[in-house]
Each structure stands twice: as C-alpha cells, then as structure tokens.
Amino acid sequence: MTADEDQLNTAIKAGAQMLGLTIEPAWMPSVRANLEVSLRLGKLVEEFPLPDDHEPASIFKA
C-alpha cells in the first residue's frame, strides 16, 4: 500500500467515525474504489476556473 492509499483509508475511517457509519473490512475496497472515482471526477470539476462571484445553480428563493 502506498502512502497515498494509506491516507485515503485513514480518511475513510475518520469520515465514517465522524458520520457515525460502520464500514466492515470487507466493504472497504469497494467504498474506497467508489470514493476514488468521486474524487477523480471532483478534481476535474474543481480544476475548472470560475470567478469568485459565479453563482451556483441551486439558488434558494425566499
């Protein structure tokens, strides 16, 4: 296991504790694989430059 992989496992365990979730050891590879996909795709979105005043699509109407 590389240092990055170890860090992600640590993050998942910490996240599960914070959210009150139980992740059995057998589920860990699948949870991890799914989170890796989300983070990879999230990075693609995050890298796209947008100005600070750009509004999100979800705007609450009072």
Binding site: A11, I12, G15, A16, L19, G20, L21, T22, I23, W27, S30, V31, R32, A33, N34, L35, V37, S38, L39, L41, G42, K43, L44, V45, E46, F48, L50, H54, E55, P56, A57, S58
Partner: protein, 474 residues
C-alpha cells in the same frame, strides 16, 4: 345510447395496441375498459414471471376503475383522452395502499401510502387505469435494472439481457407489451437508458416541468419523472395529461401547460438539427454509430457541434448525485447497512464522504455549463446524440468492450445521458430497431420545447426510422 361492444378493434390482441388506439377504441364504444383490463391482467400473469417487471399488481383497483369507465361511457357521459388505458409506475411513485419501496428492502417496511402520487392522479383523471408498480434498481442509483431484493427485470427482446435502469420494470413492462404506458424517473438517464435497451420511446421532460409530489426522491437537484411507451403519440398524450404546477414539488415551475399532442403532425420542416460530436463520438459501439447515422439521415442533419466541457459536466453530475444520495440515505446507512444492496451501499457511503467544496464547485459549474449550452440553441433547434454506448448487455455483466477497450460497465452506461439531464434539457429517446437488439438516440431541445422533441420523434416514427420492436411471442 350506444351499447359498448365486447369485440376488440379488428380482432387485435388488446395488449399489442398503443395507448392512443385503446383510448380511441374505448371512447368510441368499440372496446370495453373492462376487457382491456382483463386482457392486461392476463398478459401480466402470463409474462411477468419471466420478465419480472411488476412488483405489485393492483388488480382489484384496476377492475373497479374499468367498470366505472364503462359505466360512464354507457351513460353517454364524456371520458378523458386516456380512457381505459392501462399503465404502471416505477415503484418509487406512491400508490395508495402500498409501501413505496423504491427498489429497496428497507422502504417496504414503510406504512402504505395514503394517497397516489400526483402524476398517477392526473393520468387517472384523464381516464387511464393504474394496474401496478414496477421493479427498479435500489433507490434509483442504478443503470442496469438489476435488483438484489426483487431479482432483475429482464429485457423482453432477450431475457438474458438487462432492461437498463433504474426504471428497469418500466422498460420491460412497456416493451414486453404488458402495458402500453409506464412512468419512470430519470436522474442521470434512468428513463432514456431503459428506453434504449428495450427499444422504447421515452420522454424526459424539462427539469421542473412535471411535479414529483409523492414520489420517493434520489437527487432533488436532478430528479425528473416521465413516460415510456411504444409510440411518440402515447408519450404526448400522457405528457399532456400530466402537465401543470403542483406546490408539493419545490422545483416544479409555475408555468402554464403547453399541450403537445396537437403539435405532433407539424413535421420537422424548418427545424435546424445538429449532431453532437466530440465526446459523444467516443466510446460508442457500432450499433450506436449506425443508429445516430440513421436518425441524422432521416432528419437531414449533417452539421456536428460540440457541447462545451461535456466530460466535466458528466463529472459534476456524478459528484452531485453521489453526495446528495449519500446525504439522503445517511441515517439508513448508519442503522441498516446490511439491508442495502452492497453495491448501492458502498457507493452511497463513499458519496457521504466527498468533500463539500467539490459539491459547491459542481453546482457553480452547472450554472456555467447551462449558459454555454443554451447559447448553442440560439443556432440550432435540436441536437441528436446517442442514448447509450452499447445495446443491452447480458445480465450480471461487469465489463463492456467498445472499440476493443474494456471499461467498467455500470459507470459508463450513462455517459451520454448524464451531461444532458445535468442541465434539465427535454429529451425524447427514440428506438432504432437494429437486429437483434434495438438502441436509442436522444433528441434534445432547449428547455420547455418538449413540443419539438416529440415532433421529431413522431417524424422519425412516421418515416420508419424509429420503431419500438415487438417482443418475440412466448
């Protein structure tokens, strides 16, 4: 007063008729609603054990409702445009008296719904008859139509293959001629994918057009409801019956109904049609390439255009989906993780851990992508794109091979649908009847132009380019 005849129009098997044909037969008195329902229930009893499309059959309710319609007609009173048309709904719609299971084990322990979903009420107000609830992927987080609790819905054209999901039963029931009309939901493609795999016409309306009131959610920011059928006219008839504001859905837009059925025959003259290139040309199987080419030829489309930053749009839809889903189910994940489909559970757990800045950025990007994409519709009326990268895969398949490249199947079935629903554009999926399996093409227009996508779908049906193939006889 005309006494309704018990004979069927031209001696046809009622279950092979379209919704429009049934409604016309019932309204004219050539066909009894009770006959339609009896034949439909018999067809479900015969074919559902194999297709596994229905999880609940509301037989008594349907028989009573058909009797009421026949009585109304016998009394010479008017009936609605869908009089006597049997329909069924994905089991995330509330059906009075049934727990809304949403494909899950956990939700079937809920109390029975006290009232039907708004769209069911509207279809029944138009004379349609609910006959049951349909199989679906757990909590709609699915593109396959497989379900570990209820078993997979099976593709009527080849029962060893997937229907597509998550509205799998909606695809199987309509394509298998168990009913002429079904309702599904589409967050990232769940109406268009089963339409493609099962060879159906499907309508994903503009986001906010049809109210989702009293249906079980998946991703509020992206959820749409809509019909699947074997003809574009049936989509139009049902869509017209379902339009209109309802305050129970916070995203539903206060916009007057804009009927489309009367527009269907207007043809495509004057419409500027373009083909989605770039992203939508990559990873597409030979059948998909052929289907898009046939539709393009039938519409005289030669111009290709590229949607801006499509891969990023798909990524942003993915991030919003997984995080909203993870949040929605967080408490169930805490308390009953063993009762989920493991594949759904692990995706939702992962979704709950995605850092918040990525979600915020995805919503900001959504606004940017919407603005750039809408600019394209200043120059074109319609964009055509493949619906799925492949024809219906075998049940249980995990890997798809396209152009010799192996890819994970589940993550890639929605690559062409996700960037379109991400900004709520209206889409008609149309079936191109290739052999041995059909495949769908998306007809996409600017927001609120359901009239255009259905006009195009009707033109393609009239020209024989888009046809819902009949299932093999069993």
């Amino acid at each position: 007063m005309n006494q309704p005849a018990s004979s069927k129009p031209d001696g046809a098997d009622v279950t092979t008729l379209t919704a429009a044909e049934i409604a016309q037969g019932v309204a004219s008195g050539r066909l009894r609603a009770s006959t339609v329902v009896a034949d439909t229930l018999a067809r479900i009893a015969k074919d559902n054990p194999l297709l596994n499309a229905f999880t609940d059959v509301t037989a008594e309710r349907a028989i009573n409702r058909a009797r009421d319609i026949d009585t109304t007609i016998a009394a010479g009173k008017p009936v609605g445009p869908l009089a006597g048309v049997p329909f069924a709904v994905k089991n995330l719609f509330d059906v009075k008296g049934l727990p809304t299971r949403a494909g899950s084990k956990i939700n079937r322990e809920l109390a029975p719904a006290a009232r039907d979903a708004v769209l069911i009420e509207r279809l029944e107000a138009a004379g349609a008859i609910l006959v049951g609830a349909l199989n679906m992927g757990e909590y709609a987080y699915d593109f396959t139509g497989e379900n570990v609790h209820d078993g997979p819905s099976r593709n009527p054209h080849d029962t060893t293959r997937m229907t597509g999901g998550s509205s799998g039963g909606s695809g199987g029931a309509a394509a298998g001629q168990l009913v002429p009309l079904t309702l599904g939901s589409d967050t990232n493609g769940s109406i268009r994918v089963p339409s493609s795999f099962c060879g159906l016409f499907g309508l994903k309306p503009t986001y906010g057009r049809l109210p989702r009131t009293r249906s079980f959610p998946f991703v509020f920011a992206l959820d749409h409801l809509g019909p699947l059928a074997r003809s574009p006219r049936d989509l139009a008839l049902s869509y017209d019956a379902m339009q209109g504001f309802d305050a129970g859905d916070g995203a539903c837009v206060e916009r007057p109904a804009e009927p489309v059925t009367s527009e269907l025959g207007k043809g495509v003259a004057g419409l500027h049609v373009a083909i989605a290139g770039g992203y939508f040309r990559k990873g597409l199987c030979a059948e998909g390439i052929e289907a898009v080419a046939r539709v393009a030829r039938a519409l005289g489309a030669t111009q290709e255009l590229e949607l801006p930053e499509v891969a990023r749009a798909r990524a942003a839809a993915y991030v919003i989906t997984t995080t909203e889903g993870g949040s929605l189910h967080l408490d169930r994940l805490r308390k009953r993780p063993q009762d989920f489909d493991p594949a759904t559970r692990d995706r939702l757990i992962a979704g709950s851990m995605v850092p918040a800045p990525l979600v915020d950025k995805a919503q900001k990007f959504r606004r940017w992508y919407r603005a750039r994409t809408l600019e394209l519709f200043e120059k074109v009326d319609v964009i055509i794109a493949p619906a799925t990268p492949c024809v219906a895969p075998k049940l249980g398949e995990q890997i798809i091979k396209i152009d010799g490249v192996e890819m994970p199947l589940r993550a890639n079935i929605g690559i062409y649908t996700q960037p379109i629903s991400f900004i709520g554009l209206p889409v008609a999926a149309v079936p191109v009847p290739l052999s041995p399996l059909p495949i769908g093409v998306q007809i996409i227009a600017a927001p609120w132009r359901e009239d255009i996508v259905l006009r195009v779908a009707q033109h393609l049906a009239d020209s024989g380019t888009a046809v819902a193939p009949s299932p093999p006889s069993r």
